[in-house]
Symmetry: C2
Amino acid sequence: MPHHLIRKLEQFTKLSRDDRQALEAAAAKRRSFAEHSDIIREGDDPAYVNLILEGWACRYKQLDDGRRQILSFFVPGDLCDTHIYILREMDHSIAALTPVTLAEIPRSILERITNERTRVTKALWWDTLVSVAIQREWTVNLGQRTAIERLGHLFCELFLRLRGVGLTEGNSCMLPLTQVELADAMGLSNVHINRTLQELRRSGLVALKGKRLTIPDLDALQKISLFNPNYLHLEHDGRHLDADEPTSP
Amino acid sequence: MPHHLIRKLEQFTKLSRDDRQALEAAAAKRRSFAEHSDIIREGDDPAYVNLILEGWACRYKQLDDGRRQILSFFVPGDLCDTHIYILREMDHSIAALTPVTLAEIPRSILERITNERTRVTKALWWDTLVSVAIQREWTVNLGQRTAIERLGHLFCELFLRLRGVGLTEGNSCMLPLTQVELADAMGLSNVHINRTLQELRRSGLVALKGKRLTIPDLDALQKISLFNPNYLHLEHDGRHLDADEPTSP
DNA sequence: CGCATTTTTGATCAAGTTCAATATCAGTGG
DNA sequence: CCACTGATATTGAACTTGATCAAAAATGCG
């Protein structure tokens, strides 16, 4: 059932049947959350590693005076911080943006995997490093890019990430975000997001209706957003090898 | 010689003599960089994990049209991505802001440590998680805070991080950054950084001259910056235990 | 259909940018 | 010790991007 995660990890390296089964087993304990509910809150003790199976979630931080920054979006296949349980308490919150099903992976199982499965461990490391790279790219986004570039960049990123887990159809994908949520993620006002979206639509770079995003010309959108996909680290040799053959140590 | 790193890690958990010696040994291979030179560039193959021993460095990303975002500052004791060698190529650059001495830790040694030294491994994980939390906080900073809050927040963070490695004197510390560098880090123009600094000085919240930052009233600065130190995860029990006693498994 | 949420529009305002000039400072060589 | 140089910091004025406020229109859903 955690096939999105498996599919994502196999962009980095092929996994063996055993590897995949270990991941399946790790994701046995399921939990569901309603739209807009908090999955974990700032200050809570992080007991499990959450793996999003279905739905979208976000990491966010709320300032004392109410301002809110969305720090990242989670889509199916995303792990919320592989080693979070080392920390005493959460420094941010995670909320469901749509109805969410996730797996709570206990620390013990994750530690067993890291002890026994080199290939999975390395793939999880890759996934962690990519998440951090995404966080850095958001910093660039907020620090340097204009509203249009920002939004275009986000759309490119989400589209490629969803494609990596098999959740795109041709040049379109789901985008179950309100303009307020986009605003909180991009550090802009919802009014300005609205106007920026109109501009993107008018120029034919994106179509967006009914929670579905279509990008007619991804190259064009990448260009105007100064989007360089290198931070997603999708170029790897290992993914073409067959992990069931006894080739690797 | 990597005493800053050791001191930092011991905020999280006490290390044994052996642990410390292993870290000393890992940092054997030294290298120096001139002010303003690149330590590693976007596109390079990351062969080593760099540990800053002396001087300040920064991670940055340059857009095609020249805009530059500084993504993080490195101070003595900071590791530049503990597992970076898993990636094929760097998605950002690292540059020396002052003359820098660093240790190039080879992958093999780091892997040995993670296999043999549970306590160090956990402490390194803690350090990694804190770095990521800092990156998230920068995202909040750029997305939500005003110029004054941003700058105040950065000063609070740097001061606490430097105090954690023993590089503060009373309520002051070095701050070898130009206003252009501050601007590139905060997503503001250098002109506005200049004016914001003046405002911070005028209100007596910081003194800044000759590369030295003084914060007369840290609480006050924290308050106006909406600074909550929880993301640095400094509250831990383990740091009071004696790691040379055979207490932990 | 009716209500709540989300999107859209218009008008005004403010934070921060840009450009360009001037002042200051830290080294450097004489 | 001083003059010279390049880098850094400071100032002023005009300008722009995006924020804010408030209202209206559209959408979605029970």
